[in-house]
Symmetry: C2
Subunit: 338 residues, 2 copies
Amino acid sequence: MAESAPRRPATIHEVASLAGVSHTTVSRYLQDKDSLKPKTRVKVEFAVKTLDYRPNLVARSMRTRHTNRLAIVLASGMHFPGRLLAAASQTAHEAGYQVEIVSVEGGSAARSARVDELARSGQVEGILAFSPLALKGKKTNRVPIVESSTYDDNLHGLAELADASPVREIIEHLASLGHRTFLHVSGDIENFASARNRKSVYLETIERLGLRSAGAIDCDWSAQRGYDAILALPDDTEVTAVVAANDVVAMGVVRGALARGWKVPDDLSVFGWDDEEIGRFATPSLSTVAVDREAQGRVAIQRLLAEIRGEPAPTPPEQKINRLIFRESTAPAPRQRG
Amino acid sequence: MAESAPRRPATIHEVASLAGVSHTTVSRYLQDKDSLKPKTRVKVEFAVKTLDYRPNLVARSMRTRHTNRLAIVLASGMHFPGRLLAAASQTAHEAGYQVEIVSVEGGSAARSARVDELARSGQVEGILAFSPLALKGKKTNRVPIVESSTYDDNLHGLAELADASPVREIIEHLASLGHRTFLHVSGDIENFASARNRKSVYLETIERLGLRSAGAIDCDWSAQRGYDAILALPDDTEVTAVVAANDVVAMGVVRGALARGWKVPDDLSVFGWDDEEIGRFATPSLSTVAVDREAQGRVAIQRLLAEIRGEPAPTPPEQKINRLIFRESTAPAPRQRG
DNA sequence: CTGAAAGCGCTTACAG
DNA sequence: CTGAAAGCGCTTACAG
């Protein structure tokens, strides 16, 4: 079993000596095979194959001062947007970059320190951070960092992209169905700008439309908190519609309603967020917001690339990133309450 | 806005010259501050602070021939086991390694090529692959690669860890409830060893216990396939229990049953896998297999570290990794059918 | 078209 | 305790 295969990879010098040329020529072959004369090329080709040579990318990076790598930073344990990352990776590849995802542990300070270190390590040329950061100190000496929260914040007010704008649409839709008193089970307000944005849009819209809110409960994106939020409502609550932070929370809300003997959507309408597959098949299926994760990933990388190149931020895409999907968990408000 | 901050980080030489010492001394300071005499240390300390110096890790790696980095490879778009990765990262950190996650695109061949390239790039010291690979060619010249599928396969028969052993327990449990005819909606058989393992354990157990199977349907881990599998059953099917590949598929199965007018669990029992939060709050809540993702992540990294160090594979942990959870989606078999 | 030389930013024996 | 020198594996002007 224990192969005695050489662990040490071949170097460019070994290739050169086997081929009987200088290492300069081998390097040239690596950059552009056609720059060698055919006879030389064949010799080098043979040596590369024989030794199964691959250039050491660390050495190359050191010399070229380019790693062609970007990092996406997530908080450890954070829900992982697979489709967003796939799209981000692909966009980066098309621009000649490899993407790696780094999961950072600890509190905001520890995470920020790790990101700062990464940004100065010379290992990557740019960082996309989905982990909430608290970067301090000089921005100097480090590669560009695009923060997704900043990102959300910057887009606030830009109707097409602002992460929170669907909240307005959700409430307007529910109001058109006769709902008058709402409850918001927010996301992790403390750590996520998107959660803060949504909450503030919720409150603004309630106010603007002259509706009532029974509260905006802070939460941690967990189903249990959604469940608890419903159980905490008084028996004579006038709430007939709940806007939940995401589908997981929404599922907890639905279950909480059932536990109280309320029917969904007959007695209570519930709106989720994320269009999770499992919510589409739940009973009742969840009304939700489908987010174009691919577009988000693409746009985020494009922003980062622009910063790296020193170009102005790219214009946001035309298409809507968020789309409301109406399913079984929402219905007209019940007569007796509203 | 456009800060004119120097993009180029300070080098060790600049620190040395500001401190009035040799760069050797600065390097020494980086390794062990106490190896300098106090007066010198203060000077270096000051220069490091002033220039906001961080060593270039690429250069360091080149010299030390160590990157202290491991890669975890996932297939692009693949469901992302956040808790597993968090545990894997932490275990690696404790051993002095940073972990990066690389998402690879394309078919099996393209993905394998990318992994092979990574394994020879000198950028990482080991790779943990959760993407199904088809590595060919010599194993030589590349860093250790632990494949999660191989991993599952190796553990097959090792009751405590084998990924598929809960299937046996599930069937035994359901049989004890009077179920006699089963349906298995498998995972992605083609690409995942774990899916293959579970299917074969399913078939073995059915056989061993003298039960009946209406089939083991290949699937892609999607709810839609679970739904379709149920709709495809004949009206007079004797199936009273379904073992689904995961909670998402199970949710599709439940919904499919409802669409046919069957009650869950009264007419049909459904078992999922993964203990997803959303399935805990679904109605009916899903019976499922809770997987200790943290332990999986830890063990996988430990295996990789052992290979890197040339040590024998570590002994698997004592505790069970999988635990059955019985919820509302399973019940005794209906009288009229079984 | 090819080679000799310099250098990317570090670390590590080796002297002193 | 500190410094001069060599070298990690590449690429890139510069000559020829």
